[in-house]
């Protein structure tokens, strides 16, 4: 029987897998991408689940995608378009039951005016806060596209990289060094308390600090996640967030088209059951249907646990098996997509407010956010969760029929395994209803405008997308799982104990988010080993 033979096979057509595939194909390799699902994109997809509505089913906003990758792979030419959103709204419930809105505006003066209504002091502090966060961004950004050094290695390359990191850090000077250490180890609450006084504003800023994590806003180590507000850029607009036109799937589609255009091949409905390893070297893989594909090298876009689960454990050192077992996923986020018969009203928000084109939040205080985490710790979904609500169709009309809209709701926290028992259909429905009820407290016509709902608990995310325990970052982004510890110490340079088996998913440095950096870094390491320049 004749087997197909490829120079490189990439497992998983998620955005990182596709980025790696593009780079390798462009460097002249014959590359095949295998995707288990019937559609490409992984968690970066746009799928229609109801009539003419298209949802960004999982990931829903774009900012972090590295511009250098988009340029290298000509993604704009292949149809990627990101539209920044122009607002944001924090709905405030006053003590007397009335509502108010803290609006975020594209225009700095408008933004400041609204802040000043709440607190003059905070209006000033907000500028300082953003400046200080931006400073931390400048420190971290260049590290995203670099391979982490192995601090135990004496290889010149690792030593040089360590020296580079040391120099950068040392170069900050004593005071900035302290600031940086504080930023990376403090809790979001403590950090914000040093700047702001208004609780509603704090919770508006802080909510994002717990996205996808098993930590609360009071947990040490959450302040740095505030970076995400500032780290991205869209077409050179630093710190902007935006919608991909056509949904997040448009990004995977552009990657896919770029890959195909350079001669690559993608196969869907092709799940890998195991890697074939001979004498410590990868030879290819067997698909779920039994088909065998030969390959000189394999790059896995799956998370680290799924990757090594596809390898015979006898081929791996015992300590690696142990580390992979202990790698923590613990999904904590859920996603709901809702088709709407028009724009819902929100208490305190004027009709037609541009603020609705951005993220809409209803968390009232830091304490409320932290209590949401306490619920998760106890294995319950949050009674008052952090909800990141967006109506992309207000900006991108291509996703819904005219006059209709869809809303993306990101929910923090939701347990992977509810303590009272596993996810049953009834429990899923109860969870969905709970979220809808919560939104309805702030939106009088929300339930009547609802046409359809797609619900994803962490368990559903695992089943559908293949992210272990539904962790949206392919593994928690805590200090012990970052940089040279990601995914496991000793194998943080996209390689594995198996020769020819590489990793390119978000389980690797620098982690999750639709960023593409792990994919690009992995491709660079592969090509380095092959002695080719990309």
């Amino acid at each position: 029987m004749k087997h197909d033979h490829y120079d490189a096979v990439v497992i998983g057509a998620g955005h990182n897998g596709l980025v790696t595939a593009c780079y390798l194909q462009r460097a002249g390799l014959k590359v095949l991408v295998l995707e288990r699902n019937s559609y490409i994109g992984g968690a970066t997809t746009s799928i229609s689940k109801y009539e003419d509505f298209t949802y960004s089913n999982c990931s829903y906003v774009c900012s972090l995608f590295r511009q250098e990758i988009a340029r290298d792979l000509e993604l704009y030419k292949f149809g990627m378009q990101v539209i920044p959103y122009n607002g944001g709204a924090q709905i405030i419930k006053n003590e007397d039951g009335s509502h108010d809105m803290l609006g975020a505006y594209w225009h700095a003066d408008a933004n400041r005016r609204d802040l000043e209504r709440l607190s003059k002091r905070d209006a000033n502090a907000y500028d300082r806060l953003n400046r200080d966060i931006m400073r931390q961004c400048e420190f971290i950004k260049p590290l995203l596209m670099r391979t982490p050094p192995d601090p135990t290695s004496f290889k010149p390359r690792d030593l040089m990289e360590l020296l580079y990191l040391g120099k950068r850090f040392y170069g900050l000077g004593k005071e900035r060094m302290l600031e940086t250490i504080r930023f990376y180890t403090m809790s979001a609450a403590d950090y914000l308390n040093e700047y702001l006084e208004n609780d509603a504003l704090k919770s508006y800023v802080a909510g994002g600090a717990t996205v996808g994590t098993a930590l609360g806003v009071y947990s040490p180590g959450t302040a740095y996640v505030l970076l995400h507000h500032a780290m991205g850029d869209i077409d050179g607009t630093v710190g902007a967030w935006g919608f991909a036109r056509g949904g997040m799937g448009a990004i995977s589609k552009a990657l896919n088209d770029s890959f195909i255009a350079s001669g690559g091949e993608v196969r869907v409905n092709a799940g890998v059951s195991k890697f074939i390893v001979e004498r410590g070297k990868v030879k290819g893989m067997q698909l779920e249907d039994g088909e065998v594909i030969d390959a000189d090298l394999v790059v896995s876009g799956m998370d680290v646990r799924r990757t090594f689960n596809a390898v015979d454990p006898n081929e791996l050192p015992a300590w690696v098996v142990e580390r992979v077992k202990n790698f923590r996923f613990r999904g904590s986020s859920a996603k709901i997509n809702i088709a709407l018969d028009g724009v819902p009203k929100f208490h305190g928000v004027p009709d037609g407010s541009p603020c609705l084109t951005g993220d809409i939040h209803i968390s009232q205080s830091m304490e409320e956010l932290e209590t949401a985490y306490d619920d998760w710790k106890a294995g319950r979904w949050s009674d008052k969760p952090y909800l990141d609500m967006l109506i992309p169709s207000l900006i991108d009309p291509t996703m819904t029929p005219e006059g209709k809209h869809w809303m993306s709701i990101f929910i923090q926290y939701c347990p992977y395994e509810p303590a009272e028992g596993g996810w049953t259909e009834a429990r899923r429905q109860a969870f969905g209803q709970h979220i809808v009820n919560r939104i309805a407290e702030f939106s009088p016509d929300f339930t009547e405008k609802m046409l359809h709902m797609e619900l994803r608990t962490p368990k559903d995310i695992e089943t559908e997308v293949g992210l272990t325990e539904g962790n949206i970052f392919q593994g928690e982004l805590t200090m012990d799982q970052l940089i040279f510890n990601r995914p496991i110490p000793g194998y943080a340079q996209y390689r594995s104990p198996i020769k020819g088996l590489y990793m390119c998913g978000s389980s690797t440095h620098p982690g999750g988010g639709v960023m593409g950096a792990p994919g690009a870094n992995a491709a660079r390491e592969v090509l380095l080993d092959l002695g080719r320049r990309n």
């Binding site: 601090p151 302290l178 990376y184 180890t185 040490p220 180590g221 306490d374 805590t478 110490p489």
Partner: protein
């Protein structure tokens, strides 16, 4: 004519006394001024009611360096121990206890796997603590490579970590920023066992087991055990006050003077240089140098006039975290308490009430919002079981650390204290049925009370939370990490400095060395 001293130490806590003793031994004139009417700070023995004494702050000695004890000749100055290397017993209200003795753990419900895992865990942690220990024992390293000395210090640290071997070095770099909850999950099955170990990392800390940094505090504590060279968890004869008394005796023998009931109102500064202190009663004492054992917030926000400091520095000091979340419980008991599952001979052991890590977390949750826990967790000692001098007539004293307790400065403080005491006693009753009837006197010191009693901001043991942001060259802030301060002639020697809290005296010793190096 008022006397002029070379050094004034503010605060007669153990670090202040250690600093004074070292300075006096080097031939310097030193005056220690202590606000309370007795020296010792949080390492003191207090008579609760006639015939019953208790260590009212710290109640176990476990981190004092063996060489400091011998250097100062503390044994000759009256320090002895009524018990050393005492066992730790984790109590269970409904089942058998777990006993930790040295590097072994035993318990009916503890599996052979967990017993073996404990050996492994202990060996791994000891090894890492040993690599870090010199950092804790010495002056904080400078984050600088300007001079050869600095380069060598950093290189030495690097090499020590490297000498762990590749596997353990990686492991250290992985777990150092981890939380203890997850780390213990990697090693053990038994929930009560995990909770008991976790308590070592969490006592006195602001955070729960799931908070990052709890591995660091555990290694810090292990380094303490190591440097006390076999003393382990020790009960000083006569209570913790005996430690302070012996250091004070050593200091006096070397020529230091100590004044109690002398509360400092402010630090005198002339020509941008510390020149002495002014006491509450208006008395001014001149000195060449002032060394503050008070916490950084006290020192720089209360004792020093703000005009002498720049705003950036003040902001850093204000932002220091000193939210004490440990309360102290003292009970005088008419007879020996009976704890479930505890052998009578083990009454002198350290007892823990922490059923599992989730319960610790549940005790922690409410205090984040300024509320009291319903089921707090405890570290309990009955020092009178090994030291008859503490309680007369067959009585016993019980001393317990209770977590997690909010800093409460509300108008209802007294009512809250009474209500919380009731909660605590109910919880104790489950583990020691009948203890309620044995109580002849009960006292509960909340963080707020500890602040008043010991003059520590927030009632925090470590003065400043022991976390990465206030660690090594950042402890408490970069400008104070080497014990000197932005004000010439003003030094710091308390737990707020590197390496941190616990009764160990290293900060005091390092400060004395720095003062002497500075000359004058």
């Amino acid at each position: 004519m008022a006397k002029h001293y070379q050094n004034i130490v503010i605060g007669g806590g153990h670090n202040g006394l250690v600093c004074a003793a070292y300075l006096a031994r080097a031939g310097q004139s030193v005056l220690v001024v202590e606000a309370a009417n007795e020296i010792g700070g949080a390492a003191c023995t207090r008579e609760l009611v006639p015939g019953a004494k208790v260590s009212s702050g710290a109640h176990l000695l476990h981190a004092m360096p063996a060489d400091l004890i011998s250097d100062l000749g503390l044994a000759n100055h009256g320090l002895s121990f009524s018990a050393q290397s005492i066992k730790t017993v984790s109590l269970n209200a409904d089942g058998p206890a777990i006993v930790f003795d040295g590097d072994t753990v035993k318990g009916e419900d503890v599996s052979a796997e967990d017993e073996a895992a404990y050996q492994r865990f202990n060996a791994d942690m000891q090894r890492m603590a040993k690599a870090l220990r010199p950092v804790f024992d010495k002056l904080a390293p400078e984050p600088s490579i300007e001079t050869w000395a600095e380069r060598l210090t950093l290189l030495g640290l690097g090499l020590r970590i490297r000498s762990l071997g590749r596997f353990h070095m990686r492991e250290l770099l992985r777990i150092i920023g981890m939380n203890f909850y997850d780390l213990l999950d990697e090693y053990f099955e038994n929930r009560q066992l995990k909770a008991a170990i976790a308590m070592d990392a969490l006592l006195g800390a602001e955070w729960g087991a799931r908070s990052m940094g709890s591995v660091l505090t555990y290694l810090y504590r292990l380094a303490g055990y190591q440097r006390s060279k076999g003393l382990g968890l020790a009960l000083p004869a006569g209570g913790m006050g005996a430690v302070s008394q012996s250091i004070a005796a050593a200091a006096k023998a070397a020529g230091a003077e100590i004044r109690t009931s002398a509360k400092v109102k402010s630090i005198l500064i002339e020509n941008d240089k510390a020149s002495g202190v002014e006491l509450d009663d208006g008395e001014k004492i001149q000195a060449g140098r002032v060394i503050s054992n008070a916490d950084p917030k006290q020192t720089f926000l209360k004792l020093v006039n703000v005009d002498h400091l720049d705003t950036g520095f003040i902001r850093q000091i204000r932002n220091l975290r000193s939210r004490g979340r440990a309360a102290k419980l003292h009970l005088v008991l008419k007879a020996a308490p009976q704890f479930k599952g505890l052998q009578e001979a083990d009454l002198g052991a350290r007892m823990l009430i922490a059923p599992n890590m989730d319960d610790i977390e549940l005790a922690f949750n409410p205090c984040k919002y300024g509320r009291y826990p319903e089921e707090p967790v405890f570290e309990i000692t009955v020092p009178s079981a090994s030291d008859g001098s503490l309680a007369a007539n067959g009585q016993h004293v019980l001393s317990a650390i209770v977590q997690y307790v909010p800093y409460d400065d509300s108008a209802e403080l007294d009512a809250n204290r009474a209500a919380f005491l009731k909660t605590i006693l109910q919880q104790l009753e489950r583990y020691a049925p009948g203890i309620g009837k044995q109580i002849s006197h009960a006292e509960l010191l909340l963080p707020r009370d500890l602040e008043n009693e010991f003059g520590i901001t927030g009632g925090h043991w470590h003065h400043v939370e022991l976390v990465f942001e206030a660690f090594l060259f950042n402890r408490p802030v970069p400008a104070l990490a080497r014990h000197s301060s932005p004000i010439e002639g003003l030094y710091m020697c308390g737990a707020g400095c590197h390496p941190g809290g616990n009764v160990m005296g290293i900060a005091g010793r390092n400060a004395a060395n720095q003062v002497l190096k500075g000359g004058q």
